[in-house]
């Protein structure tokens, strides 16, 4: 019986046909080909410009583009809607989706389906790029997504996932959207090797999404690099947070998040490297903070976070905070502003280091004081505060700072 079943399966797959679409091919339009296709077929679209309005895929097919055929939504409709499991979409150029406040028209959208693969497409000037709504085990891979948003309200997200799980977002590059990648109620998913640049709001945005990882991504020059909010158990490894500049701009914004792990990331030239608010039980280990305005801003609402074995080099301020309560621990970090000594030569400084400078506190209270930064007067005040801490909390301290930077 089982053999028969396998035999049946084989013949079934052998029967799968290839439907070709193009100017001098059997099918002139994509819609005709889709209508004629059955589950398991391949629809191969040749080079050309296809303005067919909304294209709806509701069979399990492989939808292939050759030499990047253009699917044009003419700024009116959603371009490609996927209403079937296990669809593969590969090699298209999807442009000009419509714009609507209520419906969120997309370049490519998956509706409540599983095992959909969206790979190697180019998306240009869409409202939302790729949208996975209530999807399972979907893969979004090696897509190039570009939009030209000017304001947050006028543009959607590059890759948007809502109420999904087990997604893989790999190797995409996203530019000029609102959020590069947006996760809301997404669980057990991985984001790997993506590049998000010049997005208006965040490079990557988590809301209520837990048990996810993002690894080896680059977030450059976005409104803020990554925002992780109202989530837990998020793993962040080996990402680059670069040049996220602006008044409320951060490399990594952590808000109401707990039990996460931040390991070997690289924060460079951000206004604030990491900004933490209401963040609990997070371990921040072996990261590099270089050339940031504030390496970390830890608000007094954070608790039980561990900051160990990081390199702090060339930052204007190592730390900033808004209160005097400190419930976090700092250990064995390298601070380039450390001026202590190491008599027993164990590589650890014998004098504790206070990473919070008086001037950082002053600036937090009165931002205009930034005007006086590096003036002789301020340097004098800072030095006297280091000797006798009176305004800065004295338990904001690294008791065993490293003498030499870690090789990271």
């Amino acid at each position: 019986m089982r053999l028969l079943f396998i035999f049946f399966l084989c013949t079934f797959s052998l029967q799968a046909q290839k439907l070709e679409v193009g100017a001098n091919k059997p099918y002139k339009t994509i819609k005709q080909a889709l209508k004629a296709s059955n589950n398991g077929d391949t629809v191969l679209v040749h080079k050309g410009i296809y303005k067919e309005g909304n294209i709806r895929i509701d069979k399990k097919i492989v939808f292939l583009g050759k030499d990047f055929p253009v699917l044009d939504g003419q700024k009116k409709v959603e371009v490609l809607s996927i209403h079937a499991d296990s669809v593969i979409v590969k090699g298209f150029r999807v442009i000009n989706s419509g714009f609507a406040a209520l419906e969120d028209p997309c370049g490519i959208k998956v509706y409540n389906k599983s095992f959909v693969v969206i790979e190697g497409n180019q998306l240009d000037d869409n409202f939302f790029g790729i949208y996975i709504q209530n999807g399972r085990n979907c893969i979004v891979k090696n897509n190039t997504i570009i939009a030209y948003g000017k304001e947050e309200q006028q543009i959607g997200n590059g890759i948007h996932a809502w109420k999904s799980n087990d997604l893989q977002i790999i190797g995409n590059s996203i530019k000029g959207h609102r959020d590069g990648i947006y996760f809301e109620f997404v669980y057990d998913s991985v984001i790997w090797r993506n590049i998000a640049t010049n997005n208006i709001r965040y490079g990557l945005h988590f809301m209520f999404s837990s048990n996810d990882s993002y690894i080896t991504n680059i977030f450059r020059n976005n409104g803020a690099g990554v925002a992780v909010m109202f989530s837990k158990d998020v793993t962040m490894i080996n990402n680059y947070f670069d040049e996220n500049w602006g008044a409320s701009s951060y490399g990594l914004l952590l808000k109401e998040i707990s039990d996460s792990y931040i390991y070997t990331n690289y924060f460079k030239n951000n206004t604030s490297g990491i900004y933490m608010e209401g963040t609990n039980r997070i371990k921040i280990e072996k990261n590099v903070f270089e050339g940031n305005g504030w390496a970390m801003k830890i608000q007094a609402s954070c608790m039980d976070n561990e900051i160990v074995n990081n390199n702090f080099q060339g930052n204007t301020f190592d730390m900033g905070t808004n209160g005097s309560l400190v419930l976090n621990t700092f250990n064995n970090n390298y601070w380039d502003k450390y001026e202590g000594y190491d008599i027993n030569r164990d590589g650890l400084g014998d004098v504790p280091y206070h990473p919070l400078s008086l001037f950082a506190v002053l600036v937090e209270k009165n931002p205009s004081a930034m005007l006086l930064f590096r003036s002789f007067m301020i340097t004098l005040l800072d030095k006297s505060e280091k000797v006798l801490p009176s305004i800065t909390p004295d338990n904001f301290v690294d008791n065993a700072p490293l003498m030499k930077p870690l090789k990271l």
Binding site: A247, T271, L371, L372, F373, S375, M377
Partner: protein, 255 residues
Amino acid sequence: MNRIIKIILTDILKNKIVLVYTIVLSLLSWSAFGLEDNSAKGLLTILNVILFTVPLVSILFTTIYLYNSSEFIELLLSQPIKRNKIWQSLFFGLSASMVLAFFIGAGIPLLINAPNAVGLMMILIGCLISVVFIALAFLCSILTRDKAKGIGFAILTWLYFALLFDGLVLFLLFQLSEYPIEKAMVAVTALSPIDLARIQILLHLDVSAMMGYTGAIFKDFFGTTAGLFASFGLLVLWVVIPFYLSLRKFIRKDL
């Protein structure tokens, strides 16, 4: 006029104090770059030198030199030379020697160790600051005939701009923190040449932090090309106005 400048220049260059100043500057600069592992920290040391040592030496040396050469000035006045020519030549001679000393002492290490926008900016601003404080010294020394008083004025002027002014600004900032004073503060910095110089260098050195909340306001003003020219223009005004006042006084003075 050129001959007087030449005489003054050779006189100052023979003077050991300027030589020592040059050597100290170069020692400070070379060790700043040599001891620190990254050039950013070396730049910070030199920034402190520019904001602290350079004004002090410029203003003190010039004041003392002017008092010491009062006999020479009287001798020149007995010759058929216009008074403003004499005063201007003195100014140009002193400026040229101090700028030269700064350039050799701090400029060359800067050019070698930090040949970028920040380095160039620091050289330019260091030279300008030297000249500003020379002009202030001219004003101080013409105000009174008494040497001790004149030097006292000079030291007070330096103390005011290097320390007290920032203290006052800090005090004002916290007294008026309830008001939107960010833009007014930008105007206040124009009242101190050292602050003008510092902010101009900061915008290059701590660019990430300056992109923050109020930093952005300063950046919008000073960071643009117009702002750059405005702050350089203000620094030049800090040279022209004190010197012009002293010149007017010198022309009318009964020596």
